[in-house]
Structures are given as structure tokens and as C-alpha cells.
């Protein structure tokens, strides 16, 4: 899968909340939706692979704003509750996972793009590089969608089986432990390389 196809998939995933807001029938919500779609286009298509400029913060901004909108913070902060209703809050929260996948795919696409640029200078064959990156993109997309299916399945499991539902503090502790483990794995890899 070439990087353009991957960018399109990423864009389609990222614009889902924007489309929802556009469809709401409220003018201000539609404007917020258009801004969200514009940001999605920037994240997916703008050449932010150089790691410089405002573009690199877009993925975080788009997620942060989606979180704010989904929880009604945005509306309350700017006293917009009458014009941007909170009826779509939960829907946006539901779509957040698709946005995270969209951002993961846009990062994959960016990595492939920068890889082609850097390694072409080093003398690698461009066609071969494109083929390698295409294979990388395809594999990452398979993994990304598999993770999405598992995440949705996990959520459904929590929803359907009340026994699985955990309280506030156990949830904090569980996620905390999982995250500590993930950081430990990643940073131990870094240390190995440093040696």
C-alpha cells in the first residue's frame, strides 16, 4: 500500500467526528466540524515528516480538542452550550479510537516518507525503497485495524459483562501498571542500543 492510500485511509478515520458535527444542523457545530476536517487533512497530507513546524503538534491538538469537545469542556469554556449541543459528546468519544488509529496511520505514512527521502540520498534504489515502505504500510495497517477490532471487542466485553467492569481506583492502578511496563520495555530497548 503506497503512502497516498494510507494517507487517505488516515484522513477518512480522522474526519469522522468532523462529519458528525457537520451533520448536526447547528451552524457553530458545523464550523467546528469544518475546522476538525481541515486539521485532519493537515495531519494526513501536509509534509510534516521533517519533524519541524507546527504540523508535528497537530496529532496531539486534534486528539486534545476531540477529548475536550467530547466531554463538553469546550462548550462550557466558551459558553457555547446553547449553540453546540452536547448530544454528540458520547458519539465523539466513541469515534476517538478511530482518530487514534488515523493518527497512527498518518505517523506510519510520515515515517515511510522520511525513510524514502533519507535512504534515497544514501544511494538505495528508490523503487526498492518504495516497495519496502509499501510492505511496511500494509503490515502496520493490518496491525492497526487488528488493534482497533481488539479494542472495540474489549470495550464491548466490558459493556456486556458487568463482572469485568472495574472501579475508579483499580482502573487507575491497572492502566498505571500497564503503562509503566510499556515504558520500561521501550526504554530498556533504548538502553540496549546505547550500549
Amino acid at each position: 500500500m503506497n503512502r497516498y492510500s494510507l494517507s487517505i485511509v488516515s484522513f477518512l478515520l480522522l474526519i469522522l467526528p468532523g462529519l458528525l458535527l457537520l451533520d448536526s444542523g447547528y451552524a457553530l457545530a458545523a464550523i467546528v466540524g469544518i475546522i476538525e476536517i481541515g486539521s485532519a487533512a493537515a495531519v494526513s497530507f501536509l509534509p510534516s515528516d521533517r519533524g519541524k513546524g507546527v504540523g508535528r503538534y497537530f496529532p496531539f491538538l486534534i486528539i486534545a480538542s476531540a477529548l475536550m469537545v467530547s466531554q463538553g469542556y469546550f462548550q462550557r469554556l466558551f459558553s457555547l452550550a446553547p449553540v453546540v449541543p452536547s448530544v454528540y459528546d458520547n458519539d465523539i468519544a466513541f469515534l476517538l479510537v478511530f482518530m487514534v488509529l488515523g493518527i497512527f496511520l498518518s505517523m506510519t505514512s510520515g515515517t515511510g516518507k522520511s525513510m524514502i527521502r533519507e535512504m534515497s540520498y544514501a544511494g538505495f534504489d528508490e523503487m526498492e525503497l518504495k516497495s519496502a515502505v509499501s510492505s511496511f504500510n500494509t503490515n502496520m495497517m493490518i496491525i492497526g485495524f487488528s488493534a482497533l477490532i481488539l479494542a472495540v471487542s474489549g470495550y464491548l466485553l466490558i459493556s456486556v459483562l458487568p463482572q469485568v467492569s472495574i472501579g475508579f481506583f483499580p482502573a487507575v492502578i491497572t492502566f498505571g501498571i500497564i503503562y509503566l511496563l510499556l515504558f520500561r520495555v521501550i526504554f530498556s530497548e533504548k538502553r540496549k542500543t546505547a550500549r
Binding site: Q71, I103, A132, F136, A151, G154, K190
Partner: protein, 434 residues
């Protein structure tokens, strides 16, 4: 690329973490999907992060001529692992890539991957070159920072023969045109199947060699027999100067490289005439670990010559003090062979050359000095596009005082920039007589 991907993974953890904290703080279960997504994503990448096994089958010809374009084919098989493989098939400095590249990359996904890489390269100077390994770097998709470097032994070498075409002609037998001692005929060795002449029977000749037809044609009571050439009728020893004076010119074109082409060509001519040929080098103070060939003839000896000549390298010492393996003098004393001393006479080595010639003359009076004139080679590269008509004469005029130091001996001055290899092969054959 590596940094960017690592940052992306860290960013995913951060996004998941923020989503998780928000989910916990707001008790919004939908947000739990985001953190679950990140956790499953990283777990999947981590579970695939296994060290792979990579095998390579490299194919290339065992022998090629200098500047000849050679096809290289690498069949790479990768099992296990999940990430990018960047590989390099390192070529020696004497090689030049002609088509495609010797560095390659591919992504190893879920299934085993087989890739065939091809490229073309040319060896620019003669020699035996080891092409026995493939270097690779594995960048796992998870934790790409933790790249792994490795080497795979492919176990191969390539012989690059001199670029000058070796004349594959059989010279007619010729006597020496100089009034000097004739080559000593070998007294040993069995008769070969090569016919030489018909002569009158002598006591001791085998009855099987009687030529009955010639006997019938001859006068009464004269029995004629066939005379066959002896194996290794004569012995010629090449003594090659390996001092730095032989390296003047470019890496590919210098007196040493031309001398090696010359020995290749001339020794082959002699060996096909059943003349025993041997090879030694004269070097400056680095022991006697230099390639040499004991005098013999035949195809096997041609192969020995090829292997030895491809390994000859100039000595690194700036001081010219000729040392020759003692075995050379032992063989010389036993065979009274003709010695062909190949050198390039300069001021720096002329005194030592004189000593070397004196030492050789103690054992054999048959010495031919082949003086490879390097000035022409140097000028050819400095003054490209200018025809050097009098290069040889001018060089000899300059070198006259140095050459005078060397004891009087038969000498062939060869300027490879203007005289062909065939010319010097024929001239030497005529001088020593084959």
C-alpha cells in the same frame, strides 16, 4: 527515520495515556477504547519483535578480467523478525559499481521473505578479492532504536585477471638473436609427445623411436629415429621487483601491473613450449612471505602462476633493499636457468639492482633485464590527449646515468604507454630464444 518512528510510538503511548486518564477521570467508557487500542497495538508489535534468521546465497563468477562488468546475484531469505532489513554486500576498493546498487532494503512482515538482489560491478585492478560476507542491520518495527547489526558469511572470492588481453598465440620456435650463452638444455625429464626432428640413430636410443619411413628413404645403413622434445627442456625464472618504484603511476596502471600482465602472457607462451618456468619476487625487507612458483610447465603450472601473480602486491617500505628467497638461488644453481628480472630503473633502486644482478650472475650468466618505463604511464595520465612520441627516448636519456650503474646485461626497455604487450613478449622470446 528511526527516530521519527520511535517518536511516533512514544506519541501513541502518550495519546493512549491521556485518553486513559481522561476516561478514568470522566468515567466515560468510550474513551477506554483508545487506551485499549494503544495497549493492543504495542503488545502486537512487541510480540512480533523476535530476532530473525537470515540466509544468503551469493552468486558471481569465480574469475573475470579487470574492467569487465560482472553480474552479482544475492538470494536473501529472511525468517522471523518483523521490521526492516538493510543490507550491504561490501565490495573491495578496487571494485566499481556499474549498475544498480550493493545496498538493499526490504521489510520483513508476518511471513518469511525471499528477495533476489542483482547488481553489476567491475574490478578495476587485478587481484584475488574476498567477497565472503554480507553486512545487515535489522530495525525491528517495535523499538526500532534497538537496531541489530550482523554479518553473514557467504564464502566466496573472485579473481580479477589483468585487463590487458593476454596474447594466446603460439610463437614459432626461435633462436636467440644475441651472441650470448645459449639456454642450458635440461638434462632431466621424460620425453614429451611433441615432435622436434628426425636424426640418425645413436646408441641408447629406443627401437620404438625408429622412423622406418625415413630410414627407408635415407642412404643405406643409416637408421633414422624421431627426436621428441623433453618435458621442461629449458628453465626460465622470472624475478619481479616489488619495491615502491614499481608503483609509480595509478593504482590500475603502473609498472607492477604491466609487469604482471607481461609475466602472465610470456610464461604462458613458454609453458606451452614445455619450458619450465618459475616465479619469485625481489622485495624490500618484509620477510619472504611473497608468492612464488617452482619451475615447471603444463596447465597446472599456468594455474599456479595465475594464483601467485594475482596475490602480488607492492611492498610498503620506502627503502629499496632487495631480498630474494634463498630457494630461488638454490634452483638457479641447479638449473642454470635464464633469469628474467622485471623492474623499473630509477635513481632510488639502481644501486640495489646492480647488487642483485651481481648476485644472480654468480649462478647464471643468462640474465635479461626488462625495464618497465613508468614515466610514460605517469605522463599519459598527466597530459591526457597529447601524443607522446618521444616519451621512451626522453625517459631513457634521463635514466641513462642510473642504468649505467647496473652491470652489463641484456636489457629490454618497455614503455607500456606506447608499446604493446605483444611487442615485449615477442622481443623477450627472441632475446632468450625458445
Amino acid at each position: 527515520m528511526v527516530k521519527k518512528w520511535s517518536k511516533s510510538l512514544l506519541a501513541m503511548i502518550l495519546i493512549g495515556g491521556v485518553s486513559g486518564i481522561t476516561a478514568v477521570a470522566t468515567t466515560n467508557r468510550y474513551l477506554a477504547m483508545s487506551i485499549l487500542f494503544v495497549i493492543f497495538l504495542l503488545i502486537m508489535l512487541y510480540s512480533l519483535d523476535k530476532e530473525g534468521v537470515i540466509t544468503v546465497n551469493a552468486e558471481f563468477p569465480a574469475r573475470a578480467k579487470a574492467e569487465e562488468i560482472v553480474d552479482f546475484s544475492l538470494l536473501v531469505n529472511a525468517k522471523g523478525g518483523f521490521g526492516f532489513y538493510v543490507m550491504e554486500f561490501p565490495l573491495p576498493d578496487a571494485f566499481l559499481l556499474k549498475e544498480d546498487t550493493n545496498i538493499h532494503v526490504f521489510f520483513k512482515g508476518f511471513s518469511a521473505r525471499e528477495k533476489n538482489f542483482v547488481f553489476k560491478a567491475a574490478g578495476m585492478r587485478r587481484g584475488t578479492f574476498l567477497l565472503d560476507r554480507l553486512n545487515f542491520t535489522y530495525y525491528p518495527a517495535m523499538g526500532v532504536i534497538n537496531k541489530k547489526d550482523g554479518k553473514i558469511t557467504t564464502g566466496g572470492e573472485i579473481e580479477i585477471l589483468p585487463k590487458v588481453a593476454i596474447p594466446n598465440v603460439k610463437l614459432r620456435r626461435m633462436r636467440s638473436n644475441e651472441n650470448t650463452p645459449r639456454n642450458t638444455i635440461s638434462r632431466i625429464g621424460p620425453a614429451s609427445s611433441d615432435f622436434e626432428s628426425v636424426r640418425e640413430y645413436q646408441t641408447g636410443d629406443s627401437y620404438r623411436e625408429i622412423n622406418w619411413k625415413a630410414t627407408a628413404r635415407s642412404a643405406p645403413s643409416r637408421i633414422m629415429v624421431n627426436q621428441y622434445l623433453k618435458e621442461g627442456e629449458k628453465t626460465v625464472l622470472y624475478l619481479l621487483d616489488r619495491s615502491l618504484t614499481m608503483s609509480r603511476g595509478t593504482t590500475e596502471e603502473n609498472p607492477l601491473e604491466y609487469s604482471i600482465s607481461f609475466i602472465f602472457a610470456h610464461s604462458r607462451t613458454l609453458m606451452r613450449e614445455n619450458i619450465n618456468t618459475g616465479f619469485w619476487t625481489a622485495q624490500s625487507g618484509h620477510g619472504f612471505h611473497s608468492p612464488s612458483v617452482m619451475p615447471s610447465s603444463g596447465v597446472e603450472n599456468e594455474n599456479r602462476f595465475r594464483r601467485a601473480l594475482l596475490r602480488v602486491e607492492p611492498t610498503g617500505s620506502n627503502f629499496v633493499v632487495y631480498q630474494v628467497e634463498p630457494k630461488f638461488f638454490t634452483i638457479l644453481r641447479e638449473t642454470s636457468a635464464t633469469v628474467v628480472l622485471i623492474t623499473s630503473v630509477w635513481k632510488e633502486n639502481s644501486a640495489e639492482l646492480a647488487n642483485l644482478v651481481k648476485r644472480v650472475r654468480k649462478y647464471s650468466r643468462n640474465i635479461v633485464l626488462v625495464n618497465v618505463i613508468s614515466q610514460g604511464i605517469i605522463m599519459k595520465h598527466l597530459l591526457t590527449g597529447i601524443e607522446l612520441f618521444s616519451g621512451k627516448r626522453a625517459s631513457l636519456k634521463l635514466a641513462h646515468s642510473y642504468i649505467e650503474r647496473i652491470p652489463r646485461t641484456r636489457r629490454i626497455d618497455w614503455d607500456p604507454s606506447s608499446e604493446s604487450l605483444g611487442f615485449v613478449v615477442t622481443t623477450l622470446s627472441r632475446v632468450i630464444g625458445i
